[in-house]
């Protein structure tokens, strides 16, 4: 046991946890935004993330577009896809405040995407292998993979972007207001469909960024999405629903738990540790560790 307590390795685990955790974090922010206005757990989030990972892979393999260069078209496509998904699939149910139907549609979308990806790209794991993908550098004696480090920066920038959008723009403020009390927000003249579609498009946009991060750092297969969705949900619970920073911190915390869990008890048990922490937080701090204020009914 003592040989495990190596300062260098513990520091390395810390950095890896944060790198991994920010990915859960931005997935969780997307879930939080969609939950905020539409009050459903968007269970297809993980599959959407993997779908964008495939899109990134595809653009690289077929057209040789560098994954980091493809961020702009992919995020734009994701925002449009979010708008299309909302109007095509969720609008009717959202207008009727029919959450059960919305949830079922989300589950259906998840299975559709999983099977679509299996047909389009086969169930075999894929990864974007670039010339710089294995480049490592050392910072304060800690080894960093370049792609993971860039992934961290992108995730932080995306979070900052969402934070500023919600804080500074009128429609962003309206999204926050609708998350708190949708009925009162309509009394202010806010169209519920407008805030729903903005939140939904942002959620899908964040999913595309998480997808690019996955494509460049890990290998993925069509059914990996469900795992990500569950992890994002745990991250959201840890952080507390309702705030952007809470979701990100929840993701980072989950990443750290997973990283140290793998380090101390092995990767199989690390999953058990994740779920145990999840249950403990649900029992003792159901509002999350960083959310602070309670979620209104």
């Amino acid at each position: 046991m003592l040989k495990l307590l190596n300062v260098g390795l513990i520091a390395q685990g810390f950095v890896n946890g944060i790198l991994f955790g920010t990915m859960y974090g931005i997935a969780a922010i997307g879930l939080s935004l969609i939950f905020g206005t539409m009050r459903i757990v968007f269970i297809a989030q993980g599959s959407v993330i993997v779908f964008f990972a495939y899109l990134c892979y595809w653009l690289y393999r077929l057209f040789g577009i560098d994954p980091y260069l493809s961020i702009i078209p992919i995020v734009l496509a994701a925002l449009l896809l979010g708008i299309a998904f909302y109007y095509a699939l969720f609008k009717e149910a959202a207008v009727l405040k029919d959450r059960i139907s919305s949830l079922l549609i989300a589950v259906g979308l998840m299975f559709f995407l999983e099977n679509f990806m299996m047909m389009a790209w086969t169930p075999n794991p894929r990864a974007v292998v670039t010339s710089y993908g294995f480049y490592n550098f050392s910072l304060f004696g800690i080894n960093l993979t370049l792609t993971r480090f860039i992934g961290l920066l992108i995730a932080i920038l995306a979070t900052l972007g969402v934070f500023i959008f919600l804080k500074k723009t009128l429609i962003g403020t309206a999204v926050r207001a609708a998350s708190e009390d949708i009925e009162a927000s309509t009394l202010m003249g806010i169209n519920p469909n407008r805030v729903n579609v903005v939140a939904f498009a942002m959620g899908i946009g964040l999913a595309s960024i998480a997808g690019i991060n996955i494509a460049t750092t890990y290998s993925f297969d069509p059914v990996y999405g469900f795992d990500i969705a569950i992890k994002a949900l745990i991250a959201l619970t840890l952080g507390g629903i309702g705030t952007v920073h809470g979701a990100l911190l929840g993701g980072i915390l989950l990443g750290l738990i997973e990283s140290y869990g793998t380090y101390f008890v092995g990767s199989a048990w690390a999953q058990a540790v994740c779920f145990m922490v999840f249950l403990l937080v649900l029992i003792f701090k159901p509002n999350g560790l960083f959310g602070g204020t309670s979620q209104e009914s």
């Binding site: 009128l170 309206a174 009394l187 202010m188 806010i190 204020t293």
Partner: protein, 237 residues
Amino acid sequence: MKGVDVLYGDVQAVWDLSIHVDEGAIVALVGANGAGKTTLLKAISGIIRAKRGEILFSGKSLTKIRPQEVVDIGVSHVPEGRRLFSKLTVFENLRLGAYPPRARPLFEKSLERAYGLFPVLKERKNQTAGSLSGGEQQMLAIGRALMAQPHLLMLDEPSLGLSPIFVRTIFELIGTLNDQKVTILLVEQNIHQALKIAHQAYVLKTGRIAMSGRGNELLANPEVQKAYIGERWGKPR
């Protein structure tokens, strides 16, 4: 509004109800809990749909349009329990009050007016709405509704749960707003005060109009005194 029926599922809360609000007047709706006062306001602002009947505002029908359009036409609703966005700052709450397209260009002017009426909101503009006291929250709720530059302001139980000092402030404010040509439709449990200030009043009972008349007439009506006010409040002290 004419012949309006409102149902919650299968439960009818308002029966064939007709009221009229004169432009520039203060009209009070009073009555016991469950009489349908709040339901009536919700039907006007479009949160719930009237099953039958018609709701007209300056000749335009409000019956079929959505709540976000009703507020743009000029009818603002301060709901029961204030319903502020408690995690947002005072300023952000006011900013959202001016969200309707008609009110947006007037934002600066409306903000000045709200801060003028409630200087305390200016002092606390960067605090979250949830951190305000009950009275301050009610001021913010009214200020937020005024940001939409309404012609008709509907207030649901504005004095509920407030200290006597704030209750007086709120009623004085209703008078001030009315002097500024805002028509007021007021729902109140504080019947004595409401009837005193109202030009016209309706007494509701289980979803129907039991009585109507000028505010001070109803106040003097022995039946109203007995049923809703009680001896102690009925007689001038």
